[in-house]
């Protein structure tokens, strides 16, 4: 489904991704971990199409299409969803009208008729239950004055509404208490299917107790330096990142 090959990206003069290779197949859940500043959020942003980054090398193939030349909204229409680490407040636009516009724009892209009001409301009710988000909240300006937990739940709610093929969760667990974390994870788990994949970016192993990954990758200094199964996350929890960093540095020194 997603194949990232030798991806290099920089912002201004600073190279942040330095040769990422990653393949995600349909139905898989991949966790990306790593210390601060290793490039995790950059990878998420680059996949969603954030324009601040310049791709200098490599390719991203998504369902047989080259993602790099695709506009942000086109990527969304093709089935990519990024749950933001810091969801943006948009005064004056309610979550409801925002999502209605988004869904119908995506449908338009696919050549489908707009969703009628009744079907939209029915769908909204169902998905709101999924993440236990209050209907009243959705009638307010998007994220404006929402608590941290409400914002994150709203991200998962939006993901549920847009039904993407690839969901990217950028530190969705940050700032969540254990109950909110469980609700968010439940929402994601209920969306899992053979056709849908997830890339879960997280700092902590905690989230992976609830969203169990098929693979765990450690990103360091702009590259994936170690990959494994869910046991790797437990090992990282216990031993930290130092042993991986040291091994990587030794390898780099040897190469030079």
């Amino acid at each position: 489904m997603l194949k990232i090959s030798n991806l290099h990206a920089r912002i201004e003069e600073k190279e942040i991704l330095r040769g990422i290779n990653l393949e995600v197949k349909s139905g898989e859940v991949h966790a990306i971990m790593g210390p601060n500043g290793s490039g995790k959020s950059t990878l998420a942003s680059v996949l969603a199409g954030r324009e601040d980054y310049e791709i200098t090398e490599g390719s991203i193939d998504f369902l047989g299409k080259d993602l790099i030349d695709m506009a942000i909204e086109e990527r969304a229409a093709e089935g990519i969803f990024l749950a933001f680490q810091y969801p943006v407040e948009i005064p004056g636009v309610t979550t409801v009208s925002f999502l209605k516009t988004a869904i119908n724009q995506i449908r338009k892209h696919k050549g489908e008729a707009p969703l009628d009001a009744a079907s939209f409301l029915k769908m909204m009710k169902k998905k709101a239950d999924l993440v236990k988000i209050d209907g009243q909240l959705l009638r307010r300006s998007l994220n404006e004055g929402f608590s941290g937990g409400e914002k994150k739940r709203n991200e998962i709610f939006q993901m549920a509404m847009l039904e993407p093929i690839l969901g990217i969760l950028d530190e969705t667990d940050s700032g969540l208490d254990i109950d909110a974390l469980r609700i968010v994870a439940d929402g994601v788990n209920q969306m899992k299917s053979a056709e849908r994949s997830f890339v879960v970016i997280t700092h902590y192993q905690r989230l992976l107790d609830y969203i169990v990954p098929d693979f765990v990758h450690v990103l360091y200094n702009g590259r994936i330096v170690k990959s494994g199964t869910k046991e790797l996350a437990l090992e990282l929890e216990e031993k930290g990142y130092d042993w991986i960093i040291e091994a990587d540095e030794a390898k780099e020194a040897l190469a030079q």
Partner: protein, 435 residues
Amino acid sequence: MSENSLNSQIAGAFKEVQSGLNGSVSQAFNERRIDALESFNSLGFPTPKHEEWKYSNVKKLVNGTYNFAAQNKLSKENLKNFDLPDLEGIIIYFVNGVYQEALSNLDLAEGKLSIQTLEEAQKNSSELLNEHFSKYSNDNLDAFTAINTAIASQGIVVKVEDNATIEHPIILRMISDVREENIGSTLRNLVVVGKNSEVKIAESYRTLGEESAYVNVVTEIVVAKDARVDYYKVGNDNNASYHVGSTNIHQSDNSYFYAATITINGGFVRNNINLTVDGEHVESWLYGLYVPNESQHVDNHTVVDHRKPNSVSNELYKGVLMDKSTGVFNGKIFVRQEAQKTNAYQNCRNVVTSDSATMNTKPQLEIWADDVKCSHGATTGMLNDEAIFYMRSRGIPKEEAVRMQLLAFAEDVVSQIKIESVKEYLSGLIHQKLG
């Protein structure tokens, strides 16, 4: 200087107004006209050196030539082609600055409401004019107001008796028919609202055609004790047009005044609002919205003068500036020594959507009282890129994301409009323009 230029027009128009007065020439209100002409003669038209006209250059306006005596060629049939809000009201038409009885509809005017043209009022209501005409206008400071006071012969005079609630809005539609030539008009309105009465009044300006229109309008609104007035001013003129207008309001104890000044289109637009809070427990709301594009210029000047204690004024102006347009907001608040316990707020927020658009803001507070709450803020910025990225990441194309954000930005002001059909109508125009 051409024969039709503004300066040459003034002397002639003044003579004409004076000759039409007959018996009322010696009335006090006419003394004010004579004084105003003198004021204008000493002031002259403002140049950008004048502090209040720094960013609004009237040179082209002043050098233009306009027909001030064009005949009306519009019939009721023609009006059907205008897209207008569908509303029940007292509808008064002026075409090329002249009242049009045949186009107007005063059927809904009620017993406690009297509406006359200025000409009629000069003959029949000299007492009312003596009491109020040009009492709330700064003829000695503002050249355009001074001209208006000196030469205006057209406009309406509204009087609402005490203890009357006027249900239907009074709508003034000022049309400049500039299909064939440049048209000039000078309009003067006086609205006197009696104690404990309530009225809604709207002025709308519109051009038909592509030539230049020049409109100089002054509206004075007297809000007596316990009275309530909602006031709307909407400009939708072509890009060759000039509008210079002042609305001067005087509020007494316990009165309420609400204004929405909305500029959809216009080549050069200057809206002055001068509000005098001359009573206690007064409430005043001033809203403004402007959405200039191309090379349109919109200038809003407001003055809120708190002269008595215990009152509240609140001001919110918002602008979206596109293309090469320019905007000005100059908001003054005075709180005099006597006006203790005043709450006065002012906020002006702007979004520029192009590198070539310019907004000049100048909030000014002058406070002599010590026990007051006052605040002002003025911001001008671009749209939030992060918000655009967020919306696009959900599948909303860039243009649509921008449009949604601009509409949401304008909504604060639009949602305040209290006449539902006007709100819908203006909302439609704004959607069109921002889309």
